[in-house]
Symmetry: C2
């Protein structure tokens, strides 16, 4: 059978992994795909010493690859928004199928990309955009196709999970572990995308669309990072039987859809609570199947390449199928535009609060009264011994309540003369996996 010809754009971390996996496992991949798949041309600004490209056409101009009429599938691994967008749109205009690992591009401009691809009848595949090597797009989009998804929750940023894991295991501060992660190459020099939750929000946007059949709506994701989490919060959570994880959560509720990224206390015995270091995991709960979980490497050269190459093989298969028989880009033939993404004020969850009070009689009663007046019921309250400055840390766990009521309670708490500084608030979710 005639080989399928791939144009590989980008030869950085993921590009080099893709190149090497395709060379090393060529015979197994051919046996699985039923026909040979070869890299016809590589487009990269510079060579990568990890790849032996001597037998392959190499171009310094990625647009030469996109315009090469021999090529069937363009693999976009250059990252970023602008050039990547141009590249992908040109590939589609040229009638080529596209495989990409670019979560930002898909989350932010996916709707227009899929529209263009639909009009040209080409496939755009993006398994590697979410959770690296874990086949999470395929599992939700095809494996759980019988289900109405109730909710999903995932550790979908390895850097954040690395930092939280080491804060917990070693009692260290956020800043300290971040600096170490930067030295080890697990965090960027500018870590904003990872630690402030933007990268996780990109991925959650994609997961939610394929799970719930809604258009990509990155702008509607509530996004909160982990930079305010203190060593004390980690220790207090642990003492209460919880781990703090940075989660992306999407949940179907009666009046719409919750889409939120934030630090979350989850019970220690949950599998998700035991996903440590740079690893990723996504839990998806379907009405028929119940809870399911998918775990693996969320980033890295060859793990991400594993998903890129799986996509290439899927595209090769879809090339032999009529367009109506292909898996829709976002799982559903038509996205449902009538589902409201709820504002954060409308969601309901439980809360962990940590406040610092001046040590005088009645302070606990005043705190409890404010919560009670907002209809917030308390599950646990722990008052520590006063420190040298006569300040008393108070830790609270509440039952489920509405975020708007909690916002009002926190406003009133912070206005109390007894309370020093800001109230620390972390959301608490049960995420039952049994």
């Amino acid at each position: 059978m005639k080989p399928v010809k791939v144009g590989l754009c980008g030869l950085g971390t993921v590009g080099s992994g893709t190149f090497n996996v395709m060379q090393r496992n060529a015979s197994e991949i051919t046996r699985r795909a039923g026909r040979p798949i070869m890299i016809e041309q590589v487009g990269a600004r510079r060579d990568n010493p990890d790849c032996d490209t001597t037998a392959v056409l190499v171009s310094r101009d990625i647009f030469e690859v996109v315009n090469n009429p021999e090529i069937d599938i363009i693999v976009e691994l250059i990252g970023g928004y602008d050039t990547a967008y141009e590249l992908v749109m040109q590939a589609i205009a040229n009638g080529k199928h596209v495989v990409t690992a670019n979560k930002a591009l898909i989350a932010v401009r996916g709707n227009e990309i899929f529209q263009a691809a639909r009009e040209k009848g080409v496939v755009v595949a993006f398994e590697a955009a979410v959770a690296g090597g874990i086949p999470i797009i395929k599992s939700i989009r095809e494996g759980l196709t019988a289900n109405q998804i109730n909710w999903l929750a995932g550790i979908i940023n390895g850097t954040g999970n690395y930092i939280l894991t080491h804060m917990r295991d070693e009692g260290r501060t956020f800043e300290d572990v971040l600096a170490e992660a930067q030295t080890l190459g697990y965090a960027e020099a500018d870590p904003t995308f990872d630690v402030e939750g933007i990268d996780a929000a990109h991925k959650l946007t994609i997961l939610a669309s394929i799970a719930f059949g809604v258009p990509l709506q990155f702008d509607h994701v509530y996004t909160e990072g982990i930079s305010r989490i203190s060593a004390e919060d980690v220790a207090q959570a642990d003492a209460l039987g919880y781990a703090i994880k940075h989660l992306g959560i999407a949940r179907r509720v009666a009046n719409g859809l919750e889409l939120r990224v934030h630090p979350t206390l989850i019970p220690k015995q949950r599998l998700l609570a035991n996903v440590d270091g740079v690893k990723n995991a996504v839990m998806a709960h379907g009405d028929a199947v119940g809870p399911t979980l998918y775990y693996g490497a969320g980033a890295g050269s060859e793990p991400t390449a594993s998903s890129v190459v799986a996509d290439i093989v899927d595209v090769v298969r879809e090339m032999g199928a009529d367009v109506a028989s292909r898996v829709p880009y976002l799982a559903f033939a038509e996205p449902n535009r009538d589902v409201e993404i709820l504002p954060m004020e409308a969601i309901e969850t439980a809360y962990y609060l940590r406040l610092v009070a001046v040590d005088r009689p009645g302070v606990l009663a005043r705190v409890a009264t404010i919560l009670s007046e907002q209809g917030i019921s308390i599950e646990a309250i722990i008052q520590k011994d006063a420190n040298d400055a006569d300040l008393v840390p108070i830790i609270l766990l509440t039952h489920r309540t509405r975020e708007s009521e909690m916002n009002e309670a926190i406003r009133q708490l912070e206005a109390l003369a007894d309370i020093a500084g800001d109230v620390m608030r972390i959301r608490v979710e049960s995420l039952n996996d049994q």
Copy 2:
């Protein structure tokens, strides 16, 4: 688009779940599949009060369903070998696609079934045959298609996992928990298939074929059950930092393939060690992706139906693809018949041994000498206090060694005058998931 017509054979636990999920989620399934899928006819010996079949043609003779020319896809959910085999082969002969949840049928007669299906150009799908609702076939067969799989290990029998979980959590005996599981409906009146590992061996046979591209070889799986595990073994393992899980393990080694089902000590911090109750999980380790894990309900009406319906949708899609573009039944276009399944004597693993010695001087030295003479090195040895009968339990952990050498050592240990009764041997695996 013309609806695809399904014939559902069997209306028991999984059949009724399939019927109900397809009715309840019909609109979401249609939106995903891109065309309506309807149950045209049900074949079942009796009605199921959980299903409202009034709008559907019902036949008491499943072969009427298989011979109905209107039907595109036959769903075999009657279980067992003989009638199910006849049914599936007749469906294939009639040019119909087949979806089945029948692990025994696929593991034992899959090679002939796939051969017949290949000749007729029809699809046979069997996601529900392994690990219930977990999309494990799809994840390994398609999601990890870029990888050479190094090993996989799974908790793939919910009954066994339920028993071991309750033995550990409540310090109870095997017989005691089994009786409870039978009362609760988690175990059959004759529990042999589950507790002696035959069911797990069926599933491991299938997983190994799709992971390693070898023919189905149920007869070559080493199979050992959990009925000899005592409450003391569970407690000793726990004290040493291990959980005992009943695992199916397949591993590629230099000279062949290991295929084995047996109780296994694994470190407590592994995710697999924390998969409890009736839940299933499979860990698959690929050369590119590293360790990945898939978790969920391994049995039950609607979880299993989730996989059956996902298969139906996949078959609908494959109906629109040329035969060469379909995913091969066992992942590879042609299975590799040259890979040897190693006899159990040839595998290497670490071991937990529990022996009961007569309390007299030198017994520990004699035990250590026997192991040393077989080249077996000891990681830990624990001698307990003597009981009333002057018997001393000795617990040993060894480093990795060859099974044949361990067999010889156990033979010699049991021949010692100092040793009372049989030596209990449980294999120990690290199964690193980081």
